[in-house]
């Protein structure tokens, strides 16, 4: 078995690897921009999913080589993609309708804040007294998708916890997040609040309490984060 050292891994990689383990074979999956997009690189063996992109495709594949990059075959970030066998293309209202109606099984989203009720805030901060930058397809995803996974750094760069008792920023979705994956821990969100399920190696429950702005219960079978 290959040896991996979590201490040498970037926060992004830890989050992406761990979030990828939440995906199940056959699921229809929409990945948000940033860290969530990276999870596609770490799908566990035997897990094949159908990736959805909100600009209008099921079943897209990896980035092409330069000369095969097509200006009319792009993802939601306007980056070149390919189409896997079995892919399908649809118009925008169909794609967003599929999101609202719940045809996407799971979405992995970044976030600014997430809280003990599973509320997620990721579309707006105040700049010059105005809410910025905007919503895009994130609200439609949070509204319709059964399994919303927040894949976030545990804290801001300055140490401010991103997991709160209650979100303070405008929400993207209310009571939508089922699992929170960070570089330090994994939580489930249940009716009664957060349950700490996994922790990064060398971190105690007290350490995680110190870097989390929310109360949580600890799972009976608490274990170290499983990345491989």
């Amino acid at each position: 078995m290959l040896e991996f050292n979590i201490q040498e891994m970037s926060a992004r990689e830890i989050i992406a690897r761990r979030a990828a383990r939440e995906l199940r074979d056959g699921e229809v999956v929409n990945l948000g921009l940033g860290i969530p997009t990276q999870t596609a690189n770490y799908l566990p063996n035997g897990v094949n999913v159908i990736f959805h992109t909100e600009n209008g495709a099921f079943g897209f594949g990896p980035k092409p080589d330069h000369d095969l990059a097509d200006s009319d075959m792009t993802n939601a970030g306007c980056e070149p993609i390919t189409m896997n066998p079995g892919a399908s293309i649809m118009d925008l209202t169909t794609s967003l309708g599929a999101m609202r109606k719940g045809y996407i099984d799971v979405t992995i989203l970044g976030g600014l804040e997430v809280d003990t009720q599973g509320n997620l805030a990721n579309w707006a901060v105040k700049r010059n007294g105005k809410w910025w930058p905007g919503i895009g397809g994130a609200m439609d995803l949070c509204y319709g998708t059964q399994k919303v996974i927040a894949a976030i750094n545990h804290t801001e760069k300055n140490g401010t916890p991103k997991i709160k008792e209650r979100c303070t920023l405008p929400l993207t979705g209310s009571r939508c997040v089922k699992t929170i994956v960070t570089d330090k821990a994994v939580f489930d969100v249940v009716e009664t609040g957060l349950i700490l399920r996994e922790h990064a190696p060398d971190l105690s429950v007290a350490d995680i309490e110190n870097m989390t702005d929310a109360s949580f219960q600890v799972a009976d079978d608490l274990c170290e984060m499983v990345l491989f």
Binding site: T53, E54, N55, G56, A57, K63, D65, H66, D67, A69, D70, S71, D72, M73, T74, A76, G77, C78, E79, P80, M83, I89, M90, D91, L92, T93, L96, G97, M99, R100, W123, R127, N128, K130, W131, W132, P133, G134, I135, G136, G137, A138, M139, D140, Y143, P170, L171, T172, S174
Partner: protein, 255 residues
Amino acid sequence: MSVHNSKVMAIGEAMSKVTDGARIMIGEFVGAGEPLCCIDWLLDRQVKDLTLITNTPGFAGGDFGKSELFGAGLVKELISTHVGTTPESSLAYLEDRMLVKQYFPMGTWAEKVRAGGHGLGGVLVPVGVGILDEEGLFPDLEEPKPKVSVNGQEFFIEEALTSDVSIIKGWRADELGNVEFRFTSRQNQRDIAMAGDFTIVEVNEIVPVGTIAPVDVGCPGPFVDAVVQGHSLEEQQDIYRKRWVKAGKLVPPAA
């Protein structure tokens, strides 16, 4: 010999319909599927005080196509899902040079456009109820977002959107205005076409009537008033690949 009136026009003739203060719609998704040549015309002529209805401001990182309309200060109001995909639009908004009354969830925005194109007054949308109607969130709205309860669930009443001029981008079109799209650039270009009082399609190639199989027509000719020649597909591929390489989104070919 042509047996029909051709809708093919020079860009200048078609785009002269866009005058200062016009309400226009432009097809795109974060810069993909943008009518780049028509946008260049707006920049050349400095058509100003535009109300722009479009999915997003454009290519992430800006300095491309539609983003330059914001940089040039031509957009008075943006009706969209987002303001921040390009630095030019962010700056225009944050420096109070452009009005954004509210952001719409993308599915809501797309349905408002579809409603406009399909002769509806609006649509009922559940997304964002309890969030986007929070007091003070959108201070530039004249009235609170209207809601209605149907079968016990609350919905926003979202009015239809229409335009004076809609500008879409297709792969190829014939003289009747039938348009074929390539891959993910289909987007909601057809709905945008239908929502315009006058609709211009910019294409890579203008082909004889009958070239596009009926089943491959993504936007039927009756929804189109003008067909204009844009970049060739080869030129378009080159433009996007160069921009992707510059943005670090595509590995350049080995030297």
